[in-house]
Every structure is written in structure tokens, then in C-alpha cells.
């Protein structure tokens, strides 16, 4: 029987010094709060990403020889949470910094590391995640997109779906089959780094329920990939993708990406809220404070070189449930209705979040899948 333990976050004075720098940077560089993009949370602004890069805050834990700054996971955590809490437009570098870059650093060839990592760290190269397919969501091992070996490389056919930012990213890390189906469902899969300008790719927008375009369908028809685009070992895809998902789930975005709502709610409640409103707000604040401790504890595990996949799943499950609850609580505390595009910041941010809350417990592993991972970590399966 194993119980999960979350050691208290280690004090990191260097990280707290960095916090002040990040705040000063954000105060100078962020668009005004009322800008609709900021209320849409985590907008995409490549110019902003390059400024973040210029400060050394993308790929900041990576070795210096690949453009990194060799700073600690705890310092990176501070940068991440400050960006999220401020609603900074981080989408152009977030995925590469969080998971694609670390995946390349861990599994890539020397040539891939030399080529991609400095570009990511400079904010000049963005990535998207090619995992899900029409018939392969939670059951990622059921992926059917196939890279068949041909002279000098691979020929890829198949379809990815729900690929966020495939229409504007530079590269995709593609998870697909390279071997025959066998008893071991996890065998015979590999990962590739795909330049999205490669011939044979079609990106079709998918509009979300709120009318926004962020994810896509990506179709591969006889796309040729040179041998050197294979990431890691042939057939090692499952192991690599599991590691990548641990990175994807380990950050604070799943409870801080809606922090703007708490900011606007706090402002709207004014200095003398009703007892009911004060209690509801106080409760939300207590949850954020506790989640932050758990999340910083996970950052401490990363810093110690551990792979906290189960702990990250647990914090993500708590975080997504909390974020969905915030929306429901906030709307009961105000008279106004959520109103898309409203000049009233709270009504606008609420309109966005009411419609996007369902996705919180789907993307990056559904709630049910996360709970299965936790149960396995507890020795139940």
C-alpha cells in the first residue's frame, strides 16, 4: 500500500527574488486588463513570447549549451504562475516550454537538441501536440495514424484531431504507429518531430462551442518524414508520450488559468461584500492557497529529479474540479449575466469560462483517466 506524500514546498529565496522581476516585467509589458484577448485567458502573442524569451524565461531549466539558463524547477514555477495569474498571452511558447522541449531534451538526438532547443528558448519556434485521433482519445494506444518505413524515412497517413494551435504552430510532436499490432498494446508506437509546412498535411479548423478557433483536425496524406525526424527510439513512443503527459499535467495552469475570474470577482464585490459573498470568496482563496502548495510540492519533486506522474494527476484532478467550481460560484454571487464581449470585465470573463469549463476535465487526460492513474498509484490496480 502506498500513500502519496507531498513534501512542503522547499523555501527558494532565489525564486522569490525572481518573482519580483517577473512582476515588474508583466507590469511593463502586459496589455491593459480590458483587452479582450487577456480576458480570453492565455492568448497567443508571439511578440510577447519573444520578450519573455529575451528575459531567459523560456526553457529556463535547460542546459546553457542548448540555449537554456540552468535555473531550478522552482524558479520556473514562479515564472509560470506569475504569467498565469496575470493572464499573460503565453500560448505561443507554453507547449514547447512545458512539454515538447523537455521531451526533445530527454529523448532527442544531439542534432535535434542543437536545432530545436535554442530556437524554442528564443521564443521563435512553437509546438503543438499530435496525440488524439478520432477513434483514440483516452485510449491513446489505439492510435491508427501510421508511419511506414520507406527509403530514407517514413511515409505517414492518418488523422489527428483536437490539435490545439496546429494552424499557427511551427512543429508538431506526432505520436503514431510504426510497428505491427501485437499482444503488447503499447509496443510499436513512435514519436516524430513534424515541420507543419511539410507537404501532405492539411489543417482544418474546428470551432469550439463558444465560436472560437483554437483546435484543429490535422490530416496526413503520404507525408514523407526524413529519418532524422524520428524523436527517440523507434518503438519507444509509448514510454516517451507517458513522460510527456507527466510534464503536461504537472504545472499550475489547471487551477490558475481562470485566476482572472477571481481577480474580477474580488474587484466587483467591492469593499463591503455580503457575508455570503465574503465567505464564498474566502473559500475560493483557501482552495487556491492549498492547491498552490500541492503544485509547488510537485515542482519540488521535478527539481529533485523525480517523475511525479501520479502526484501531478492528483493535483490536476483537484485543480480542474476547483476551476469548474469557481465558475459556478462566481455566477451565483453577481447580479449580471455572463455576457460575451461585454465591456464589463467580470461578465466577459465569466462568459468565456462558463463555456470553456467543460473542457478543463477533458483535455490533458479526462477526470476519469486521472483518477485511474491515482488509483494505480495507490496500488488499487
Amino acid at each position: 500500500m502506498s500513500q502519496l506524500t507531498f513534501a512542503p514546498p522547499v523555501p527558494a529565496p532565489e525564486a522569490e527574488a525572481l518573482r519580483a522581476e517577473v512582476r515588474a516585467f508583466l507590469a511593463a509589458e502586459l496589455p491593459p486588463v480590458s483587452a479582450p484577448d487577456r480576458l480570453r485567458l492565455g492568448g497567443r502573442d508571439p511578440a510577447f513570447s519573444r520578450k519573455v524569451a529575451a528575459r531567459g524565461w523560456i526553457g529556463m531549466t535547460w542546459p546553457k549549451r542548448y540555449g537554456g539558463r540552468e535555473r531550478s524547477a522552482l524558479e520556473r514555477y514562479v515564472v509560470q504562475e506569475e504569467m498565469l495569474a496575470a493572464g499573460a498571452p503565453v500560448a505561443a511558447h507554453w507547449v514547447a516550454d512545458r512539454q515538447s522541449g523537455p521531451n526533445i531534451l530527454r529523448n532527442g538526438s544531439e542534432a535535434q537538441k542543437n536545432f530545436f532547443l535554442p530556437r524554442i528558448a528564443a521564443g521563435e519556434c512553437s509546438f503543438c501536440i499530435g496525440m488524439s485521433e478520432p477513434d483514440s482519445g483516452s485510449d491513446l494506444a489505439a492510435a491508427r495514424t501510421r508511419a511506414a518505413p520507406v527509403q530514407g524515412g517514413f511515409l505517414v497517413n492518418g488523422r489527428k484531431i483536437w490539435t490545439s494551435n496546429a494552424h499557427c504552430a511551427d512543429y508538431m510532436i506526432l505520436f503514431c504507429r510504426t510497428g505491427e499490432k501485437s499482444e503488447d498494446r503499447h509496443a510499436g508506437a513512435s514519436q516524430f518531430i513534424v515541420d507543419l509546412r511539410t507537404p501532405g498535411i492539411t489543417v482544418r479548423p474546428i470551432i469550439d462551442l463558444a465560436g472560437l478557433h483554437h483546435f484543429n483536425e490535422v490530416i496526413f496524406e503520404d507525408m514523407f518524414l526524413p529519418e532524422e525526424s524520428l524523436l527517440g527510439g523507434l518503438g519507444d513512443g509509448w514510454r516517451q508520450v507517458s513522460g510527456e503527459l507527466a510534464f503536461e499535467r504537472s504545472g499550475p495552469e489547471r487551477f490558475l488559468s481562470s485566476f482572472r475570474l477571481m481577480v474580477e470577482l474580488t474587484a466587483a464585490l467591492g469593499a463591503e461584500p455580503s457575508e455570503r459573498a465574503a465567505m464564498a470568496l474566502g473559500r475560493l482563496v483557501a482552495h487556491v492557497m492549498t492547491l498552490r502548495r500541492l503544485s509547488r510540492s510537485v515542482a519540488g519533486m521535478l527539481q529533485a529529479g523525480r517523475e511525479p506522474a501520479v502526484e501531478a494527476a492528483l493535483v490536476k484532478d483537484l485543480g480542474t474540479s476547483f476551476e469548474q467550481e469557481v465558475v459556478e460560484i462566481a455566477r451565483t454571487l453577481i447580479e449580471d449575466e455572463p455576457a460575451p464581449g461585454s465591456a464589463d470585465a467580470l461578465a466577459a470573463v465569466l462568459a468565456h469560462l462558463v463555456q470553456h469549463a467543460p473542457s478543463f476535465s477533458i483535455r490533458g487526460g479526462t477526470r476519469e483517466i486521472l483518477r485511474g492513474i491515482i488509483a494505480r498509484g495507490l496500488g488499487l490496480r
Binding site: 500500500m1 500513500q3 474566502g282 482563496v285 483557501a286 483537484l318 491515482i374 490496480r381
Partner: protein, 353 residues
């Protein structure tokens, strides 16, 4: 975690593991004072753990003391350890002489107020304090009150006829004490900083959060064990996905309680009211969910007095109520948040936690 922390936690685990079984709990609930357990706890120095070093304490430190208290919570120890720790700390800080034996503190109900008046060379107390933990078995009650607008501490042995026995859901003594007209000649002193009435509430809340975290951990352990042993439909119930998901949620709440307790421990020396408010609130909420989920997994057996689960869950239900329930701390935290304002909210959170 420091080595001192591990050492103290280890010795607490050994001590409570040996001396605090279900029989001790049942006897305590029937009114038998657990003398052997208490003596061992005193001998181990746990009761002194919160006496500051500059006041003659061992300098164990709040984090370590909190760790030992979590273990006491884990083993459902039916003793006023948190209360004695607090009482000793307050006495030492006020420069009052130490008092041997189990101690308790009041007021613990935030609606209660104690008055203290000069009566010639002595002092006269007034008021009534409710739900005082273990008042009937405590060697002394340490009271926080005011005189002429100044915070004061009073330590006194309460005459038995002033005590009306009551109990919490776990059967632990929670007694009402009538103070009106009681005369005290000694052990009265101005309360130093950190020993006011609000401080007592905050310090007590911080310690209850530790006990909740400990009890929640034991509930998770019991639930995992039971889910592996109990067979239905030909397999252990822990193999059913619905049960697994309940236990995954239970683990999430247990982790949250532990994180909240750590937050309170880190805030203890300065008694940062925001961190402690968040901690008691979140731990209290976790207590509710942990108890509900664990009982669901255990079925009827968990609903019996004989099965050990109730030792922990009845304490969770009690402790979430004490030293300010969730609603109290939520309102305080909410008022602090609006005072910080939308633009100051994030800075408030990062500073407190």
C-alpha cells in the same frame, strides 16, 4: 523536512502505535483517563514542544510539534495534547510558572467572553466558557481575557462543581465552565504578543488542522486496506472502477488536508491569520469529504462502533467544528481578499502561503 522533524515524527509513531489502540480509545470514551498514554507523551516531551526556546523550551520548533500532533491525530489519541501544548506555550510566554499535568485552554468558542476584575489584592473572574476540551480532567485551565482593554492570561484549577460535562461527537470531553465570581489570587499576567484571544483561536485552528490531516491519513490507509480485502462479485471491491474513483478523490482530499496542515504549521510562529484561515477551512472541508467517501467504501461495517473507522471519522466531524468552523475562517479570508482588492489578490495569496 528536517531531520529533527523526522525524528520526532518517528518517535511519535512508535509511541502512539504502541500505547494508543482502540481499547484505549473506548475506555477513554467511557470516562477512563488514559494515564499510561499521557505519561508516555509527557515523558517524550511532546507536551512541551511549543514552549519557545527563549522561555526555557527545548526549541523543538512548531513544524516538529505539528508533525507529532498529526501522528496523535492519526492514532485518534484521546488526550488533550494540542490543548496542553498551547497552554504550556502561553504560560511560558507570559512568564507564569509551569503547571504539571494535562492542561486546557479557553475560550475556544468565539462567542464566549471572560471578564477579569480587580477585587482588592485578588482578581474576580466572570462569564462562562463553553465546550472546553477536557476541562474535567485538566490540572488547570489557561484563560485568555482582558482587563482595562489589555490582554491578560489567567491560569487556574477549576473546582469540579463549576464544570458541566459534555462531549464532542468522538466522545472526547467538551465541558462548559462557569467562571462567574471565581477568585484567583495568583497566576494572572498580561498576555504577551501572540497570546491574545484571537491568537488562541488561530493557534488552536492551526493545531486542529494537524490533527485533521493525521486522521485523514489514517482513514485513507484503512480504506485502501479494506478495499483490498473485501471481496464482492468475486473480486476485491478496490478492483471496481467506481470504488477506485472514490478512493482517488479521498486521496486528493487527504493530500489537501496535509498541504493545509503544512501551511498552518509554517504560519504558526507568526500566527499569520490568512494562512491559518485557509488551512483550517480547507482541512475542515477535507474532513467532511474524507469521512463521507471512506464510509461509502466501507459499507455497513464502517457504520459500526466495533470497526476502527469511526475513531477517525467522528474526530474529523468534531475537529472541523472547533476553533472556528469553515464558515468563520472563510468570511475572514474573504474580507481580507476584498481589502486586498482584485489587483492585490494574487500578491496576498503568494505572501501568505
Amino acid at each position: 523536512m528536517s531531520a529533527a522533524h523526522d525524528l520526532l515524527t518517528d518517535s511519535a509513531e512508535r509511541l502512539f502505535g504502541t500505547l494508543c489502540d482502540q481499547a484505549v480509545g473506548a475506555a477513554a470514551e467511557a470516562g477512563v483517563w488514559p494515564e499510561a498514554l499521557w505519561r508516555a507523551v509527557e515523558a517524550a516531551g511532546f507536551t512541551e514542544a511549543l514552549v519557545p526556546e527563549e522561555c526555557g523550551g527545548s526549541g523543538i520548533g512548531a513544524a516538529e510539534a505539528c508533525g507529532a500532533l498529526a501522528v496523535a491525530g492519526q492514532f485518534a489519541a484521546p488526550i488533550p495534547l494540542a490543548e496542553t501544548m498551547l497552554a504550556r506555550r502561553f504560560l511560558a510566554r507570559a512568564g507564569l510558572p509551569p503547571i504539571a499535568g494535562p492542561l486546557t485552554v479557553a475560550p475556544v468558542d468565539r462567542r464566549d467572553a471572560v471578564t477579569l476584575e480587580r477585587a482588592g489584592a485578588v482578581w474576580r473572574l466572570g462569564g462562562r466558557v463553553r465546550r472546553v476540551p477536557w476541562a474535567r480532567q485538566a490540572a488547570a485551565l489557561v484563560l485568555v481575557t482582558t482587563h482595562d482593554g489589555e490582554a491578560m492570561l489567567v491560569a487556574l484549577a477549576v473546582p469540579a462543581e463549576r464544570i458541566v460535562a459534555g462531549r464532542n461527537l468522538a466522545g472526547e470531553p467538551r465541558d462548559d465552565v462557569t467562571l462567574d465570581g471565581l477568585i484567583v489570587a495568583e497566576n494572572v499576567a498580561p498576555a504577551p504578543g501572540g497570546c491574545t484571544r484571537d491568537d488562541l483561536l488561530a493557534a488552536g485552528a492551526a493545531l486542529r488542522a494537524q490533527q485533521i490531516a493525521g486522521a485523514a491519513a489514517s482513514v485513507l490507509a484503512m480504506t485502501l486496506r479494506y478495499a483490498g480485502e473485501r471481496v464482492q462479485f468475486g473480486r476485491p471491491i478496490g478492483k471496481f472502477q467506481a470504488v477506485q474513483h472514490n478512493i482517488a478523490m479521498l486521496a486528493g482530499e487527504t493530500a489537501s488536508a496535509a498541504a493545509a496542515a503544512d501551511m498552518a504549521a509554517a504560519a504558526f510562529e507568526k500566527l499569520d491569520p490568512l494562512a491559518i484561515a485557509a488551512a483550517k477551512l480547507r482541512a475542515g472541508e477535507a474532513a467532511s469529504r474524507v469521512a463521507a467517501l471512506a464510509h461509502q467504501v466501507h459499507g455497513a461495517i464502517g457504520f459500526t462502533r466495533e470497526f476502527a473507522l469511526q475513531n477517525a471519522t467522528r474526530r474529523l466531524w468534531s475537529w472541523r467544528e472547533e476553533f472556528g468552523k469553515e464558515a468563520h475562517w472563510a468570511e475572514r479570508l474573504g474580507r481580507a481578499a476584498v481589502a486586498a482588492g482584485g489587483d492585490g489578490l494574487w500578491a496576498m495569496i503568494t505572501a501568505a502561503g
